[in-house]
């Protein structure tokens, strides 16, 4: 079971690192294509928000595995002023132009689970997860369950 990876985010060069680390972890865990690219892209969006709007923060990549599933949790954390209108920031108006320019609706679409916690006191924490079943049959059952 591998360890978590942390990437300090202060400059745009750190985005390159965060993307590469995210991709590498996804590939090590066995995510099939195109998931490593989807994960790296989502990381790029949330990490950039840190550089552009706050100046300092971190990305934490936490792999997880249990009996039937494997996945990665991506946490993007900063101590900045917070997003005033979180609802507008994540609202997906499907036009590609929404989200206050923070790329959060898009990142959410690339990942499976997405949570955001933001306030002036505690900064912003975005937690995104992508996961898969190891077993194809279990995937199909899950799909049917979600559709039901």
């Amino acid at each position: 079971m591998e360890d978590e990876v942390r990437v300090a985010i202060t400059t745009d060069a750190d985005l390159v690192t965060a993307r590469a680390e995210g991709r590498a972890m996804a590939e090590r865990l066995g995510f099939p294509r195109p998931d490593p690219t989807l994960i790296a892209t989502a990381i790029s969006e949330v990490a950039r928000n840190i550089v552009v709007h706050v100046g300092r923060g971190e990305i934490v990549l936490k792999p997880f595995e249990d009996a039937g599933r494997y996945g990665v949790v991506v946490i993007a954390r900063d101590d900045g002023p917070g997003i005033r209108d979180v609802e507008a920031a994540v609202r997906d108006d499907y036009s590609g132009k929404g989200g206050l320019g923070l790329g959060l609706p898009g990142a959410r679409r690339l990942m499976d689970d997405f949570e955001i916690d933001s306030s002036a006191d505690s900064g912003t924490t975005v937690t995104m997860t992508k996961w898969r079943f190891r077993d194809e049959l279990a995937s199909l059952r899950e799909e049917r369950r979600r559709r039901a």
């Binding site: 099939p32 294509r33 195109p34 194809e136 995937s139 199909l140 799909e143 559709r147």
Partner: protein
């Protein structure tokens, strides 16, 4: 039955083939596939859009009326998808598109959004 794991494989093969074979036009024939659910239909549409970003056009052929209805219900931008009734027609359309340089170039201006 086209499920989502197979749909993902289809996408990978299709897009990989576009790159490897330098294909500017691709025909996907789904004759014999009676129904697809919304997840797979969405996936198919995204594959067509992705192929467009790679500089290729994708033609879907052999759509059952039920699948055609699913696509309509999904509110898919049908202007962006090319569909032809049968495989033969699809191949003829593909040849026409691939030969565009010789003829009228008005379709082939590389736009990704219609």
């Amino acid at each position: 039955m086209l499920d989502s794991a197979r749909a993902r494989q289809l996408t990978e093969q299709l897009l990989g083939a576009i790159r490897e074979k330098r294909a500017t036009v691709v025909v996907i024939d789904i004759t014999g596939v009676a129904t697809i659910d919304r997840t797979v239909a969405n996936h198919l549409v995204q594959t067509v859009e992705a192929s467009r970003l790679m500089g290729a056009r994708t033609i879907l052929t052999g759509l059952s009326s039920e699948i055609a209805q699913t696509l309509v219900d999904l509110d898919v931008d049908l202007g962006m998808m090319e569909t032809v009734g049968d495989l033969q027609g699809g191949i003829e359309e593909a040849e026409r598109l691939a030969g565009y340089r010789a003829a009228d170039a008005s379709d082939a201006d590389g736009d990704v959004a219609t």
